[in-house]
């Protein structure tokens, strides 16, 4: 392994960070309002429309975009392509933070937040949501365990608490040393487990809507929904890494990592291509293309999702020149990420049209503030952690 991760050690408070803090404050106010006045007080959710922005974006999209974690782990650790090691840590951090925020988003969305532990006691094996919840819960812990080595690397033998906590130093140092020894031996179990759990719940998120065939627009409702969700999650994993790495290397003025990202996205050509073939094949097989020219909001949203989120970026990525150009690759990756975001929003919100009751939904300001606040907090923590922990790759001048 010739790469070395290192803490950034750069100035933490920049104008961007203050913008994040402003969003976090707005989100916090909305969350307080939700726990005083109820979900109805801050949201436009109704009896006909029980799931909205929070489930569609905070949960479903959050899980999908955290797919970089398991896809890079599979590539670098299971397939042994160690060339890609430098991107595993930032992807792992994103996944860890992403899933943490899925759970935080759920705590806001479910009516009885304090009862979130109950699925551990009351099991319903018929429920798709039960399986998703179990997988997400276990996977979140797996991600935390996978992240321990990063902490160990930074602090092992160097714990130096100030003042009255100093007596803990020796104990903590020993604990870190122990964690280092034990985890080194068993980490492979967690790496594989992480991939298995991801495959399970990424696909099952797609099964969630299968129980409501009369409410989901036929363009999206297919028995293959779980397969679509799994393949699109796999396809978005590496583009998400490209998206983040490009943003991080630009914002922190690090070396661009094109020598990793270019070959990485060659794999995406195959993954995204498979997803595209599956989606188009399903549309042809079920004959749902008859809806394409209806011109309704729903069908237009489907066309945008497929055209700009799948077909165009696929055509771009096929070209080596695109994969080698930092700007073009970033554009293609952003399109794919945007396409998966739109797909999750489409399946959970746009495609959902209950036939009986009056049904018009647009997220209330309260819902939007909570979602933006959670995203801002996630970015804030990402910045905080890469500043102080060895996550991102060292710049070469320093490393050599």
């Amino acid at each position: 392994m010739d790469h070395k991760s290192a803490p950034l050690k750069k100035k933490f408070f920049t104008p961007g960070v203050y913008v994040m803090l402003a969003f976090m404050a707005a989100g916090a106010i909305a969350i307080v309002a939700r726990f005083i006045g109820g979900i109805g007080y801050v949201s436009n959710l109704t009896n006909a429309r029980p799931w909205g922005l929070w489930v569609g974006v905070d949960v479903a999209t959050g899980v999908a975009l955290a797919a970089g974690g398991f896809t890079t782990a599979a590539l670098a650790h299971i397939w042994g392509r160690h060339h890609y090691e430098p991107i595993t840590r930032p992807a792992l951090l994103t996944a860890m933070l992403g899933y943490t925020f899925v759970v935080l988003g759920l705590l806001v969305d479910i009516g009885r937040s304090w009862a979130i532990w109950k699925p551990m006691v009351y099991w319903n094996f018929n429920s798709v949501l039960f399986e998703v919840a179990m997988c997400v819960m276990i996977y979140l812990n797996v991600l935390y365990i996978e992240f321990i080595p990063v902490v160990v690397e930074q602090f092992k033998g160097r714990v130096n608490l100030p003042g009255s906590f100093a007596f803990l130093n020796r104990f903590l140092n020993r604990l870190l040393a122990l964690a280092d020894r034990v985890l080194g031996k068993v980490m492979w179990v967690f790496v594989i487990l992480g991939v298995v759990l991801s495959c399970m719940h990424q696909s099952s998120l797609g099964s969630l809507m299968l129980v409501a065939p009369t409410k989901i627009h036929p363009l999206w409702y297919s028995p293959l929904l779980p397969l679509f969700f799994l393949t699109s999650a796999m396809a978005v994993g590496y583009p998400m890494v490209v998206f983040e790495t490009t943003l991080a290397t630009t914002s922190f003025q690090l070396d661009s990592e094109m020598e990793i990202l270019t070959p990485l996205t060659r794999i995406t050509v195959f993954l995204l291509g498979s997803y595209m073939v599956l989606k188009l094949g399903d549309m042809a097989f079920r004959g749902t293309y008859v809806y394409l020219l209806e011109g309704t909001f729903q069908t237009n949203s489907f066309i945008i999702e497929m055209l700009f989120g799948v077909i165009i970026p696929f055509a771009m990525l096929v070209s080596l020149r695109v994969r080698q150009s930092r700007k073009a690759l970033f554009t293609a990756a952003s399109l794919i990420v945007g396409g998966v975001v739109l797909n999750r929003i489409n399946v959970f919100i746009v495609a959902y049209s209950p036939p009986l009751a009056e049904n018009r939904y647009f997220p209330a300001p309260g819902e939007i503030f909570v979602t933006l606040g959670l995203i801002a907090t996630l970015m804030f923590l990402y910045r905080f952690l890469v500043t102080w922990l060895p996550v991102l790759q060292k710049t070469r001048e320093v490393a050599s």
Binding site: A115, V189, L356
Partner: protein, 308 residues
Amino acid sequence: MELSRRTFFKFMGATGAAVTTKTSSAGAWTSKAPPDPYGCLVDLTRCIGCRKCEEACSEVNQLPAPESPHCQCTIFDKKRRPDESAYTVVNRYFTGKVDKFDQPLPTFAKVQCMHCQDPACASACIVGALTKDEVTGAVVYDVTKCIGCRYCMVACPFEIPAYEYFDPITPRVMKCTFCNERLSKEGGLPGCAAICPTEAITFGKRKTLLKLAKKRLRENPGTYIDHVYGEKEVGGTSWLYISSVPFEAVNLPVLPDRPSPKLAETIQHSLFSYLWSPIALFAVLGAFMYRSGKKQSRPEKREVPDGP
């Protein structure tokens, strides 16, 4: 991330054993409907829109009194849905039928939980807080298990469960209980069926009601649409409707005969019973990891990045 030969085989032996102990696959989906549930037959030709059922329902279930209980004049101007303060509501529909003086004839339709034979809500519920009573057939809600995820509301094809959106800490899912506690007592009737002055609601065993419904259709040719709503919809419901106007016209949706939970449950159980597929995937990935680890330990040319 070293995966030694010994630990690998130890682990794979165990997973292999686990996979082989998996007995014959989950098999075809079977309905979990109780064999002889109660039900109610609603005859829309008999309903006069007095809304006594709404009143009785509120009283029995300790809900707020229905909106303007003694005024039948303006309440029907809007279409209402059951909500967190009313388990059942009656709506008025003008479907184009006219009396002999060419005046439009209203059709009144009561709506409440249909108590499906294979309820989507119960299949969806993450904690099993919604269950179908084995004896009475009522779909009942256990608030002590509920976490408030509202997946039941997403799943319900009749859009029945309602939510206490303005309770910040302990909101409940609210829906018709079929007065299950009353049913469990000898001779007990649901509040609405007991009070109905025109016998538009008939309570009884579902099987008996189906016979009764078909008898009425047979004996009054030309009066009814030839369809018992709820006999086959989403695999059958405990509540049944007969009507002289098309059911879509009174907001009873056209639904497939296939029970809503069937597809998702079939997929879930064939993939995850005994966790066979996750265990198999774990084994396959473990094998890959072991092989790639062995390759790495030999000095070898590095992975070549994207060729020119």
